[in-house]
């Protein structure tokens, strides 16, 4: 018996013509170029056709929700950055809004507009990463580098404003961490003005490309009914023809003052989801433009809430109350009233829900993130079963999961 025979017995018994052959079990991931991190999909193959697909998750579990329970409310913000590392500001926003809801804090308008502006930039950056990785999965290599080139400009804005490219922690409870540096709006304007042209470039390469259309049209179809049944949200839901967007349905952070459309497609396939995300980039550009108009040049960026929002540097240095509050906030934190809140926002991937329960202590009793990637990933077997291996890659791509967010 040669080495071949031994190995066969180890994996699966293959029968001869006497009986039906066993399906081939293929482990896609956790180390695989196109599972976007450490997703593992166990595929049951009949030749190249996927009979069954089972996503196995948990390889990136970092216990963020549990860790939040041992931090004060303010400290937990830094953990939220790491949930969806492609859209850290969206996570910051969701968590801050939840705690502000718990506290009943009203954030100044200026801070609200800046939050909208930056989260929309985050959405653009996140969609650019999605576009690039999805395109490279399907073999269009250049789009990846183009979209990362543009994302880099947005990252530079984040670094300029918050001091960090990715783990910004820029939104704080009651407002923003810092006053944005002078001239930041000019940088935003430069990026935003060039963005529609760049999106046109991507579309030139892909949208009417015959190969691209053949690879994505009719692939991974998710019906509207299935999408709702599985709790799918975000661009995936809108690609299936349901115009649901938390920004419109449950406006937060003054989104109701902005004029934008909810792009939808009815086909529900990978191509539809691609078109929806491309259109969302354009809509986000519109929102950022409006936000640039609205943001006042001067004004408070933090709520007036002594004991919860840290005092300014000057106040801390000159008044005794300021010094005391500063000391108390950064040592023991603040104490919100006991109770539970749930806040949803529209993250780039869909509906990000944050549940915070307070027991009247300075640390949250329980924090739970309803992350869109985790829920959207449920639809993967439905999308790719009965199709070819190559389609699995396309389907994972348009599900747009971030494994940090799936596993938390």
């Amino acid at each position: 018996m040669n080495a071949h025979g031994k190995n066969r017995q180890m994996t699966a018994p293959i029968e001869t013509a006497a009986g039906p052959a066993q399906p081939m079990i293929l482990n896609m991931g956790p180390q695989h170029p196109s599972t976007h991190g450490v997703l593992r999909v166990v595929l049951e193959l009949d030749g190249e056709i996927v009979r069954k697909a089972r996503p196995v998750i948990g390889y990136l579990h970092t216990g963020i929700e549990k860790s939040c329970e041992s931090k004060t409310y303010s400290q937990a913000i830094t953990l939220t950055d790491r949930i969806d590392y492609l859209a850290p500001l969206s996570n910051n926003l969701g968590y801050c809004l939840a705690v502000e809801k718990l506290l009943g804090l009203e954030v100044p308008k200026r801070a609200q507009y800046i939050r909208v502006l930056l989260t929309e930039l985050t959405r653009i950056a996140s969609h650019l990463v999605w576009l690039g990785t999805h395109a490279i999965d399907l073999g269009a290599m250049s789009v990846f580098l183009y979209s990362f080139r543009e994302r880099e400009e947005i990252m530079k804005i984040f670094e300029f404003v918050a001091g960090q490219r990715m783990m910004t922690s820029y939104f704080r409870i009651g407002g923003l961490a810092l006053e944005p540096p002078p001239g930041w709006l000019d940088r935003v304007r430069r990026v935003v003005e060039s963005m529609p042209g760049h999106v046109d470039e991507y579309e030139d390469l892909l949208t009417r490309n015959r190969i691209w259309m053949a690879r994505t049209q009719g692939v991974g179809v998710l019906s509207a009914a299935d999408a709702i049944a599985m709790g799918v949200s975000g661009p995936m839901l809108r690609g299936s023809g349901i115009a649901h967007d938390t920004r419109k349905a449950f406006p937060y952070s003054s989104y109701d003052e902005f004029d934008f459309q909810i792009p939808t497609q009815t086909a529900g396939d990978c191509y539809a989801r691609y078109l929806v995300r491309i259109a969302e980039i354009r809509e986000s550009v519109k929102i950022v433009r409006q936000a640039m108009e609205k943001v006042p040049a001067e004004g408070p960026i933090r709520a007036e809430a002594p004991g919860i929002v840290p005092p300014s540097r000057e106040e801390m240095k000159t008044s005794i109350e300021g010094l005391i509050y500063h000391f108390k906030i950064f040592t023991e934190g603040f104490v919100p009233p006991p109770g539970e809140v749930y806040q949803v926002i529209e993250s780039p991937r869909g509906e990000l829900g944050v549940f915070v329960a307070s027991d009247g202590s300075p640390k949250p009793y329980r924090v739970k993130f309803r992350t869109p990637s985790f829920v959207n990933l449920q639809s993967l077997p439905r999308l790719c079963e009965g199709r070819l291996i190559a389609d699995v890659v396309a389907c994972i791509g348009t599900t747009d999961i971030v494994l940090g967010e799936v596993d938390r």
């Binding site: 031994k6 073999g139 269009a140 190559a390």
Partner: protein, 405 residues
């Protein structure tokens, strides 16, 4: 000395094979450099830049790195076949290049042997197809003997793809054979001398009547060499690395070299069949074309000199100076009255092949990848019927004397 004078064919063949191997190996290495540079500039990056001036030593560094990597043989593999597959792939790919005429047969060594033709086979095209068709064995055996799932899937895809497109590839060039009336490469090229009588400026290349055949050939050739958009066998994002997933170290490099050698082969073939091989596109009376190779090299040398003075520092400047001297010296050599006519054939041949290679790389920077079933239906339902129709049409034209061969 007696031996040399007694065996002119053998001695010339050995010399030519050694030189060809050296040239081809260098060309393969620098083809990877070219590909990385061109794709990088398409994608607004620099590509290799630090290993040598403009990354010119990168291929060398890669080669050394390949040699020093651990050579892993998976315990469950079929060792003999696993070892054999890369050798098969590379040796077949290199053998095919031995059939290519790089210049006119008129240029001869003192002992009467042609300089630029390693082997002048009367059924050259048939022989070449016979060898390249065997290339699928390297892929299939590699995938099978690795005894792993991704390579197996890659090898299955690859075998199916290469066999399918082989058909279209062969059918698409039969039109040229009808026009040329021979399978010998030199005769095919000689048949393209002159001009189409109804258009004095268009050279008598077979691409003009055989444009459809050429497009079919080009598509099939890209598929045959497993390049984007038909690179399914090694579709990195689906099958990790396809049939050579389990290969490492120099065995992997051999597959890599085989792929690039195949790329060169099909480009050479396209040049020979459709673009007049080593013939110049200009009429013979334009004698200034004799100085084109020299002028080109001199221009390159001047550019390198400028670059080494303005851009490069330290070691890179030294390296680029060497390139400058080589280019200037080569350019001057090519301008010598004795050398200029000799170098014409290889110059035009290389220029045309480089054009094709650039096109290949350009496509890689632009297009997404087909899916397996789409690839198959494209090959069988579109490419094959079109190339067959082209063949029938050409035969009809030929039968009624509409095209003079």
């Amino acid at each position: 000395m007696e031996f040399i004078s007694q065996h002119p064919v053998l001695v010339a063949a050995v010399v030519k094979v050694v030189v060809l191997l050296f040239v081809v190996m260098t060309a393969l290495a620098y083809l990877t450099w070219l590909e990385r540079k061109v794709v990088a500039h398409i994608q607004s990056r620099w590509g290799p830049y630090y290993v040598g001036a403009h990354g010119l030593l990168q291929p060398l560094a890669d080669g050394i790195k390949f040699l020093f990597k651990e050579d892993v043989t998976p315990p469950a593999s079929d060792r003999l076949i696993y070892l054999l597959a890369p050798f098969l792939a590379l040796s077949l790919a290199l053998t095919a290049l031995g059939l290519i005429p790089f210049g006119p047969p008129g240029v001869r060594f003192p002992n009467g042997q042609p300089v630029f033709i390693v082997s002048d086979v009367s059924i050259g095209l048939l022989f070449l197809f016979a060898i390249t068709s065997l290339g699928v064995y390297g892929v299939a055996l590699a995938g099978w003997s690795s005894n792993s799932k991704y390579p197996l899937l890659g090898a299955l895809r690859s075998s199916a793809q290469m066999i399918s497109y082989e058909v279209s590839l062969t059918v698409s060039v039969v039109g040229v054979l009808l026009l040329a009336g021979t399978l010998n490469f030199n005769h095919i090229i000689e048949g393209q001398r002159g001009y189409w009588h109804w258009l004095r400026i268009v050279p008598h290349w077979y691409i003009v009547p055989q444009i459809v055949g050429f497009l079919c050939y080009l598509t099939a050739a890209i598929a045959e060499t497993n390049r984007v958009p038909f690179d399914l066998p090694e579709a990195e994002t689906e099958l990790v690395a396809g049939f050579h997933t389990e290969y490492s170290s120099f065995k992997f490099a051999m597959f890599f070299m085989a792929e690039y050698a195949n790329m060169i082969t099909v480009s050479c073939l396209a040049t020979i069949l459709f673009f007049g091989g080593w013939l110049s596109p200009f009429p013979d009376r334009w004698t200034w074309q004799l100085y084109l190779p020299g002028a080109g090299l001199l221009a390159l040398g001047v550019y390198c000199a400028y670059d080494s003075v303005t851009e490069m520092r330290g070691l890179a400047r030294l390296q680029l100076s060497v390139v400058t001297l080589l280019a200037l010296g080569g350019g001057a050599l090519c301008l010598l009255p004795g050398v200029a006519p000799v170098i014409q054939g290889p110059f035009w041949f290389t220029a045309k092949v480089l054009g094709f290679l650039f096109f290949y790389i350009w496509i890689r920077g632009t297009l997404p990848r087909f899916r397996y079933d789409q690839l198959m239906s494209f090959g069988w339902k579109l490419l094959l019927p079109v190339s067959l129709a082209n063949l029938v049409l050409t035969a009809a034209w030929f039968a009624w004397g509409w095209v003079r061969g």
